[in-house]
Amino acid sequence: MSIIHFEDVSKRYRLNTHGQSVFSSARNLLQRMTGGQIADEHVLWALRNVELSIEAGEMVGIIGRNGAGKSTMLKLLSKVAYPTSGRVETRGRLSAMIELGAGFHPDLSGRDNIFLSGAIQGLRKAEIARLVEPITEFAELQAFIDTPVKYYSSGMYARLGFAIVQQIESEILLIDEVLSVGDASFRRKCLDRMRQMHAEGRTIILVTHDTWSITSFCTRALMMHKGQVESDGTPNEVITRYRQFERDEWLSRSHDAHESVSTELQIESIAYLTLEGEPTTEVDHDGMLIRVHYHAFKPVDEPVCVVRIRRLDGLVCCSIDTANIDMLTLPFIEGRGYFEARLPFLSLVSDMYVAEATIQHRRLPMILAREMGEVFRVKGKIVDASVNGVFIQKVFWSASVLENAPME
């Protein structure tokens, strides 16, 4: 039997039930009391008909955009919130690392806060008393444990928080995006500890934006989208799917960005051409031309044109501008024309990209016009970006033998 089970779980939130007028509060109260329906516009479905089983010992990473329902899942698991419909079942003790140092009081010492935090997580006083020592040691705070935590750095704060939770003996551990704080060495310590806990057979649920920690730690991944489990499988499969999603999302968003920033200048289009000057949307590594067509309604002094090539997940792969090494200085532009960037070779790996162009003043930190081009493709087989990297590096390999294997 699975250790965590979601059976057709939906969760509805009502929006704006406070901070609104007395009248609508009163109306809501009336509706609540009469068990009536709540008007649709005040309702948000954070989860919809989620079916999910997690077996003991699994280490599951949950990924998804903000508002996809990840945190709601954790809230339902930790019984902080209850499903609107359906059932959430968990077996065994559960501890949550949902916010490191939740419930710490700044005026109290580290030791007092260990007691408080432990008690909030459901420990008995005697249990906590036994754990103070190992917690302090893990957090490396021996010298400061009787200092009020308001004097702690944010790193110390996070260390103490993690140290407390990692000591709680639980079958299920929930972790929500908490490892982004703290210094690198402590982060590693936390990750090692998580691995160890997983090895002990504990079930771990990790919610994060960081695809790397999912591929490197988890045995299974879930992608949430609009309150549903969009994809469920091995970390690699799910992350690939997530990347595609991010891409689509980013693309549809960037289409909204067709805005002209000032009235004196407009970028009319961005064109991709082969080195021979043929318009194209598929280029190869030999190179390409990017033309930024502008229309200046008034003379624009000392313009600088910047072109950024972005991968579809938004990553800026390179940025070139007319003020760069090969300076192109124009005293002014007026009327219609174009800037042309000639890229004699293209070291981007095969993938989909867009060019984004801005025209700005050389001296003023002011963007006069901005435009997003269409998608173009660098020819070749498109592999997952996490495998191929961003650019192609020219390389000369060699191999040498330093010592021969001993003869038998």
């Binding site: 009502r14 406070h18 809230k75 408080l116």
Partner: protein, 260 residues
């Protein structure tokens, strides 16, 4: 109901640690610390004695005004402060409520206990006053704890109700001080209950707080038994308030988080 209570009993260590936290924060972060528990009511007592005894000459039937006032005032202060603290007990700790599950009544009950500590100290001062006062100790004083228990039930019930109600209706924050002020003037805190016209008294004593304050004074200062009929009524109201308040709290508990 029994499951709720069992859960609460299981969380007793947390309740205890939470109360300790609140007390520590209260008394270790200010310079005079726990001295404030004594200083504050004494200061209030001094100013009120001046206004009501010296200027307005409120009649107290032979009992020294400071003692007479302190008896009612400390009881009222406990009621007033507990409700004020309980009102913010949940909304002020939402970051915790949203993150971890534990019985949420820890917060209002914690507020009650913290204020009870203050009240206990005030009662100690009151005891010292009675001791210094030449008037004898009355045997009716034995009923004092009973009245206190009734007051505790009423205060806790209202605290539970208020703390959760306010999560859904934040406006209560603004209404509460007004309500408490009205209630204070409708209770015999600064004036003796004999000032209330006889034909209004039955209505006046519908307010359980008035009954409780009056009972305290009767048993401690005048050697009279409480008005049993009204005290029984007040006790029943208090128990009802406690029961309804707790049920309301547990019913709405599941929705606290969704409101944020």
């Amino acid at each position: 109901m029994t499951t709720y209570l069992r859960e609460l009993v299981n969380a007793r260590d947390l309740l205890w640690i939470w109360v300790q936290r609140e007390l520590k924060v209260r008394y270790t972060t200010s310079y005079f610390g726990i001295l404030w528990v004594v200083l504050q009511p004494l200061a209030v007592l001094a100013i009120f004695t001046f206004v009501f005894s010296v200027l307005l000459r409120v009649p107290t039937q032979g009992v020294a005004y400071p003692i007479w006032l302190f008896c009612g005032l400390s009881a009222w202060t406990f009621f007033n402060n507990t409700l004020n603290n309980a009102a913010g007990a949940l909304t002020g700790n939402m970051n915790l409520v949203k993150k971890v599950y534990f019985p949420r009544e820890i917060f209002p009950i914690g507020a009650l206990i913290v204020n009870t500590v203050d009240y206990a100290i005030a009662t100690l001062i009151f005891g010292v006053m009675l001791f210094i006062d030449p008037a004898p100790f009355y045997s009716t004083l034995i009923l004092y704890p009973l009245i206190f228990v009734i007051q505790l039930c009423l205060t806790l019930g209202l605290s539970l109700f208020l703390s959760s109600f306010i999560v859904f209706f934040r406006d209560v924050r603004f209404i509460l001080p007004l309500m408490l002020q009205m209630l204070m003037y409708l209770s015999p805190v600064f004036y003796p209950i004999d000032q209330v016209p006889g034909n209004l008294l039955p209505f006046y004593l519908l307010n359980p707080v008035a009954v409780i304050l009056d009972s305290f004074r009767r048993v401690a200062l005048y050697g009279l038994p409480p008005r049993w009929g009204y005290l029984t009524y007040a006790a029943l109201v208090s128990l009802l308030v406690l029961w309804v308040g707790y049920l309301y709290f547990k019913r709405s508990e599941r929705e606290f988080v969704d409101q944020i």
